[in-house]
Point group: none
Chain length 221, copies 4
DNA sequence: GATGAATGAGCCTTCATTCAT
DNA sequence: AATGAATGAAGGCTCATTCAT
């Protein structure tokens, strides 16, 4: 999974600089810091104005460095978009499995996963905002976003739910529920609040209610 | 619902031309035909290359009329996008309630609604492709797309499901299921196939399976 | 000869507009006038600052029209250079044969041709200045300039000199002399005055002297 | 002569390093070697792509040293062009007088000078290609190229021809012939082959023929 | 002294919009 | 009313030059 995402922008791996910031001063000034500043600036700007209405001039200004760096580091504005996606993707890997303890029961796990994923979509809203418009037009980007978006943790969710397997639930059902959680989280965690400009008030209620219905569907005699 | 869509582009309503086709209809027909040609051309082009990469020159060329008409009729490229959305919105109104007979049972209805909505999302993919990038950036457009997209027929779905009310299902649950169907249809009918460049093979199986689980969740003693 | 030159920029033929300026108002404003203004402005600027240091902005400003026209009419700055050469080439065709009567003797003809050609090179200095830098780098342009420059009227000169053929002069000699006149005129009429920033004082004396020596060389018993 | 060339780039004289090769020559050699490498690289690149299309990055890459040295040694790209011309000029000084024995007769000398000069122009084609575009625009450079080009050895040629003076040839005629030889050699040795992309086949025949005619012109009566 | 990463001014070009015809 | 030629603002990118290392 992450191997594919890495292939988009194979050259930059800002996260692997485990060495102290001044150590690998291979050449000059703080290259990694500027790359990150550019990526952050671009993420914000692409998310708020859209890719096309954002100028490289603006990005450089917000990042506090020279415009030419965008071309030196990322081979242009388009490359910056890819790098941005790659950056965020690698940054959020394993977020799920690390941070969230397993719940006591399948029902509780489904509930907590739903909530957790909805929140994660909201946290990732800038990345999604910046990349979805391109994902829709370019299948290559699309596959990437598909993973980061509603499908990214399908496997992780699937694995977590399998722990409760004893309870007469088939793998097929677990697979479907994993997909459903991803899809519902994408819509209620990202699309709804973003499209409507604010977090929907009843989102929690609806997602919780759906989680409950699904849970019940699994418990039938 | 349609009142909101009308507010976006209040001037054009190619479908509801309720005024009788009087004399000089040739002229009017020409005008309406050109407006429609422009809208169709823009929908196709926006969907395939994106709004910003599509030039007004191209749109006019594909539509077979003069570039200046885009400004005369729609006050520019941006107006054409709005008109396009309005056009498609009005065109698809009541599609659901008219075309699909009620099923024999709640379970069957949920299944057929899920399938129906997934298909509808796919049919509307060009409209969604053209409008989602802007919907993400502009809440005004966002509300519009929200309706056309995963929320459009929430009310209609809700009403249909209420027909089976006797069976111990609360309004709250029906509401949640309506929302869930819209959300799942959006993801599995539009996002997945579009992002991945082709209709996912297992989409049917997953949606069907989820519908079944939901159904079962409603049938608990 | 002129067929080749035409192939460089086959699309524009500003000279053929024999019809009155208002006649063929196919579309809008005075297209031909603007094309010519752009070509004149470019010729002047390329000649004085060089192609690369001349900006399209400047050209448009000097020509008194919009920058975009350079791209609409000539497909960019590079196309304007080609159009410019084509324009001047067609404009000067047949200048020689039309304007200069045959002299009374071969000697007199050689003298007058030398003078005439030296003057012509000087008149064409802007065109040559603008095109020679590119001619040196691009053989395609080179062939063009070769004709316009020191070789252009080789044929015409040859034909004129043949009129005096009776006088024991072989075709081979006439051919060589034609070439020599072109070469000497190019150097003394263009290179010398341009490189030195002003018309050399002794140019006339030298060319005249050489013409005389050549003449004498042909008159040996 | 060399005084003028020196004024262009007064600082560098790689050839006339008259100072004895003292200690730490290694360092100096390095420096001189890099200067020469840069000049050679620039000559090649300017000649093949033109000054403006050649980047300092490329020059440094071809020369195998750092980009910054171009500015340290030559005060920038423009300075490198001047240094380049100066370098080649000093390098070819006295080539003529040293390498070519006097012929037995005036006629033979004119023939051999013509051939010799044509060849030299061709050998110098890279230098001429690199410098002529600028010579055309800048009289200062123009004067330089004028010497290196068609006028460089006028004096030397003049001196050689004077050895045969007894034969009823005036100084004025010798002067004119010297100039003519330079001019014809420039056109037939440089312009023709370069503009046409290859050495013209009949160049030899034409130059030889012209030399013969000139010779005959001096032998009259 | 040497290096090459960083800078940012300036270029050609595109394209929505205007308006003469 | 319809057309499309003309406009010109604005953007991405290049590259000579500077300067921290």
């Amino acid at each position: 999974m992450s191997s594919t995402s890495r292939s988009l922008v194979p050259r930059f791996n800002l996260h692997n600089r485990t060495s102290p910031p001044k150590r690998r001063t291979g050449r000059k000034r703080d290259r990694a810091a500027k790359q990150e500043a550019l990526i952050r600036a671009a993420t914000k700007l692409f998310a708020s104005k859209g890719y096309d209405l954002t100028t490289t001039r603006e990005i450089a200004a917000v990042a506090g460095c020279a415009e030419g760096l965008i071309h030196r580091y990322f081979q242009g504005k388009a490359g910056l978009l890819l790098a941005l996606m790659s950056y965020h993707a690698s940054r959020e890997v394993a977020e799920l499995s690390d941070g969230l303890p397993l719940a006591d029961s399948l029902e509780a796990e489904i509930q907590q996963l739903m909530t957790w994923e909805v929140d994660r979509m909201w946290r990732d809203r800038d990345l999604l905002r910046a990349s979805i418009p391109h994902a829709i037009l370019d299948p290559k980007v699309g596959r990437f976003v598909s993973r980061v978006g509603h499908q990214r943790h399908a496997k992780a969710i699937f694995d977590r739910l399998r722990h409760y397997k004893g309870e007469q639930v088939s793998d097929q059902e677990i697979e479907s529920i994993s997909q459903a959680i991803g899809a519902l989280a994408f819509v209620f965690g990202f699309m709804h609040p973003v499209l409507l400009g604010s977090e929907g008030k009843q989102t929690r209620k609806v997602t919780s209610s759906i989680a409950k219905i699904i849970t019940q569907g699994l418990q039938r005699a």
